[in-house]
Symmetry: C2
Subunit: 241 residues, 2 copies
DNA sequence: TAAATAGTGTCTTTTAGACACTATCGC
DNA sequence: GCGATAGTGTCTAAAAGACACTATTTA
């Protein structure tokens, strides 16, 4: 950083600074399909369009703190897996003013997803449809529960695409998948989560083998209840030794 | 985004905004070891410490444009593979003021790396040493050509760690490795690049098989020159069909 | 006992590592 | 021919997919 560059930023009145915001992809699984929580915009621009929950970042607020604050304020969620996705900084991404947005991906369990809908009735659970065009992803679409395609505000369609791509990429080598499940779950539920995100069906024995070999699963001995067939064993996530 | 939140950001005098900068990891391979170009700070804070080249982002400048500008201005490089790494936004990462920094990874060919050193003599080529602690990465160290460990400014050691980790992760499934090589290269050179980044030695036949199977390599029929042994065939990178 | 899903055994296919072998260059 | 590295054939080991089979529960 040169001296000139430093001074350029040091005098708050000398140079205009961009606003910085965070936008959150609040993702869960609904009906074996990835779903995201959206808010409808009431004001210009993109009035009537749907947007990711977000907020400006305070001058004394860390980026991850801002993301967590949105999680609390907009969805009433105390805790969730939350990771940074990407920072979007095109000059004209918001027609009003320069806003640089740091996008985050938050993964919600079924319960957390439902709780958010209850805590903030303005949130709409939108299904994410991915035109499985090979692997490139193409553009994703967000669908309302009634099946209508939702127009997305700003560059939020791009953010949503990236969220799905990132999740697909990390699903197999990391433990993010467990963030979408309750504390106790069956292997079938885990496989359903993976299949929903990947958009493909997986081989059952191979999937079980791989998951068990990774050492992520702790058998509880307990079994699910209320089924009309053989109940599956319940597992718990554990970090490998 | 609520109305209140919008107004909060809309009036430039009402709320203080952070400065936004870009910092670049200019990476190349030197002596079969990843290397990065650093600048020594002359001013407080971290005077004497070494920092990644960077700059503030202009109010009418896109993030990727700012990154490219740094590439030109600080290293005289016209073109390089450049991808966003992560955005660092801890409140106190710069003691002077709030600066949010978007870190970028630029991959330089050997020629580009040498050209940068010539274009800006203040740049120091530092070897990156990774304490191969399993996979977690631990903290990387930057070493001057004379072998001295360089103290890094701000959170730039963290950025460097992330750069190496990202590169390692992408190396096998993406084509980033070719960005570190000249247009024509031998399979041995490609393997050397992979080994330098991964910090391990690889199996030759398996490596060749995998690379050829991916369809990334176009044989040229030409061979390297000036060797005192059998010259290897030169390949060119091509996108798979 | 029937229906439905849980969970497993095993064969095949694919892919990676090991290692030795052949090929080709300058000297 | 010698030395050195390029490039390959093949065996082995590990992992993934396919598929059928057994096991266990409720109704």
């Amino acid at each position: 950083m040169t001296e000139a560059a430093f001074l350029k930023g040091y005098d708050p009145t000398a140079y205009e600074r961009p606003s910085v915001a965070v936008d959150l992809v609040l993702m869960g699984i609904r009906d074996d399909c990835p779903a995201v929580l959206l808010l409808q915009r009431r004001e210009h621009p993109f009035a009537g369009h749907w947007a990711l929950p977000g907020s400006f970042v305070g001058i004394e607020e860390a980026l991850d703190s801002a993301a967590e604050r949105v999680l609390h304020e907009k969805a009433g969620i105390a805790e969730a897996h939350c990771e940074q996705l990407y920072t979007f900084g095109a000059v004209d991404r918001d027609p009003r003013m320069r806003i640089i947005s740091v996008a985050w991906l938050a993964l919600l369990t079924g319960d957390a997803f439902a709780a958010a809908l209850k805590a903030n009735p303005a949130l709409l659970p939108a299904s994410i449809k991915v035109p499985w065009a090979g692997e490139t992803g193409g553009e994703v679409r967000a669908m309302a529960p009634d099946g209508k395609v939702l127009p997305l505000a700003f560059d939020h369609a791009e953010i949503l695409s990236l969220a799905i791509l990132r999740l697909r990429g990390k699903l197999d080598y990391s433990d993010v998948g467990f963030s979408l499940l309750p504390e106790l779950f069956t292997l079938r539920q885990l496989q359903d989560v993976h299949e929903a995100i990947l958009g493909t069906s997986l081989n059952k024995p191979a999937f079980r083998r791989r998951m068990l070999d990774k050492g992520w699963l702790a058998a509880t001995g307990a079994r699910e209840e209320g089924t009309s067939y053989r109940p599956a064993e319940l597992f718990r996530f554990q970090r490998p030794l």
